[in-house]
Symmetry: C2
Amino acid sequence: MSDGYNKIIKKIADNTVKIGVLGLGYVGLPLAVTFCLKDTKVLGFEKSSEKVELVNAGKNYIGDIEDADLETVVKNGFLEATDDFYRISECDAVLICVPTPLDRFKKPDMRFIESACTEIGQNMKVGTFICLESTTYPTTTEDLMLPIIGKESGMKVEDDFWLAFSPERVDPGNEEYKTGNTPKVLGAMTEKGLKIGMDLYSIAIKHMYPVSSPRVAEMVKILENTYRLVNISLINELALLSGKMKINIWEVIDAAKTKPYGFQAFYPGPGVGGHCIPLDPFYLEYIAKKFNFDLTMINTAGHLDNLMPHRMTIKISTALNKHKKPINGSKILFLGVAYKPDISDERESPALKIMDEVVKKGGDVLYHDPHIPTVNTEGGNTFNSVELSDNILEEVDCIVVTTKHKVFDFENIGKKAKLIVDLQNAYPARTEKIYKL
Amino acid sequence: MSDGYNKIIKKIADNTVKIGVLGLGYVGLPLAVTFCLKDTKVLGFEKSSEKVELVNAGKNYIGDIEDADLETVVKNGFLEATDDFYRISECDAVLICVPTPLDRFKKPDMRFIESACTEIGQNMKVGTFICLESTTYPTTTEDLMLPIIGKESGMKVEDDFWLAFSPERVDPGNEEYKTGNTPKVLGAMTEKGLKIGMDLYSIAIKHMYPVSSPRVAEMVKILENTYRLVNISLINELALLSGKMKINIWEVIDAAKTKPYGFQAFYPGPGVGGHCIPLDPFYLEYIAKKFNFDLTMINTAGHLDNLMPHRMTIKISTALNKHKKPINGSKILFLGVAYKPDISDERESPALKIMDEVVKKGGDVLYHDPHIPTVNTEGGNTFNSVELSDNILEEVDCIVVTTKHKVFDFENIGKKAKLIVDLQNAYPARTEKIYKL
């Protein structure tokens, strides 16, 4: 199919290529906008009709996108959203940005990828370039996607279409590195697929880095986030020991950072959150079992992380106990439920898990988060963010600092509070009133 | 003792202070020379009369020191070595750079620190500043050293002497960061002790970083090296899985390195070696038990590292098996026994452990290392480095790349060898002849 190959290469060179982006979430929408800002036509596919309407009205719902950018690219006709997957047939390239969650047993839930592949296979035209961006276990592209697309389309990879994997590296809230200026890794099943993918992404992404296969690219993303999970778990464990040894772990980390080589700082907290770090390593653990391999480092890190909400609840209980109070019946205010500072995302946030456990123990739980007005927890609780009045600060038995949003006035909070359990190093030292992780 | 305090502060300011350095090994001798090059008088204490003679003859035996520097500072009278510990009484400050090994049960062996403290306590004059540089578990300075020095001297800390901890950060073979330009952390038992220590070290060290206590400084060093052990163990485990999944882990790491934030690359190999990484984390594990705390991340990493030599032996066995040969009776040549490239130190080197195991299985073991002419293994074997002739390369059944010294001509080795087990990514891809980790 050298004809089709030449055609798509030329379309990319002319920037007349039309790209389909499947899934308009925190990965897909920024990716779509980044292409559109280079005057590339993007058709966004999204099952949520609410999101489709918002996008087509030029209304932004993703923190990492400038409102004006989305408005402009929609107005100028570069971006259109649709829930009609038949229109995949209009696209020369399809980039898949669907969720890859874990189920409640920490097993990969591949339904969104499978469904995307079915839609693509049923609707794509000959000569389409397909690339998955969602984090998943190595071998997914070759062993899961290819058979579905092949079966549904009746087409053959390399002859009729090209298949690749290029992991998203979105870091929500990162002011410096956005979709366009974060280097991007790409691995394709065939040489021509790699060339098409490199050319295509290079329209919007400054630095593309090719690797020899999709499975290498799949492993890259897992390595990056496994590295983070393992190091956060390590520093959390050292923080717990340091607390017992009357060592301020944050002081230790800041001093260790003066080493000019061979060290990278990670900071302790109530546990890992978000859509990547708590999930990605367990994709690898899942596929490793197929190879009769136990990943003991991931396993231990996961075990530690699992225990963190419980351990943090014990911290709250210990702090209250010093003030001769139990959790049961005490009013406990959580500051911040986002999984990291200054964002509005509470997915997998350890704060919610601690709140659930405190409720179970009879605690009267409140929370305040300026970025998140309401939350539903895994434990089936619903909370609404309360106003942070001096009254509230003075009234509650204990304030737990779970997220260190910039907007928090910790000086005033420290003055008004009866007791603070500081899980985020908001206060420099332990005192009668301040109990630190 | 504000009198003694003012006196030592003035002596430091005038650079008329005399420093005793206890232990003239890979930490103490570079430290001594770094001070001497600033025209500070140093008296080096060393129990090995061989080393004393070498130093006093201006003869260097440490790779990280320029021969000419040592010669100069001895000739100019700034550096003198002695085995007479009574002369500690001549010194205004004593810096302790003795070994802190683990015994065969991975328990800290504190005899060298204890003996140094006894010698200092018995011989020091009033107004001495004492600082430990050896890596050890947090609380050592306060709970182990102070009582010994106090008892032996009959003196009181702050009144009669000052006590501090400042971890060495020597990285043998590092061309960029030497003793003088590597930032140094310092924690003292008292405020005046901290001020003296900061002033004193600042003579020779560009960037000093004070922390609030010796135990914080002790923890800093442990954190730095625990971070390394954990990450090397993680990447070794991922390398073993990647081998099974036909993924080149080195390609994965190089791609992950393109992420401009939140990632630091570690590379797999046959296991950790040297005098720091395999040891330091277990100091912390030791003291943690006193606090009823299990360090599961260190424990898992240590377990993995312990298994590496055995797993590498299995790799050799698997590779030979493909060539229809057993280990028993095969001639196996190891390339490199140093624990890292381009240095002459084989302490804790995993190569030696693999060689021991291969000998046990009946292998005929040879090695070549241009930097290390002879080795004695834990298993009681003695080997002498053989010449790397084409004859040898062609003759042996298997060549195992254990250290990637720059001087090795891997192209020629690859041409001549029958079979190579490449544990260090010396060759880019697996072939019939090359078996990779």
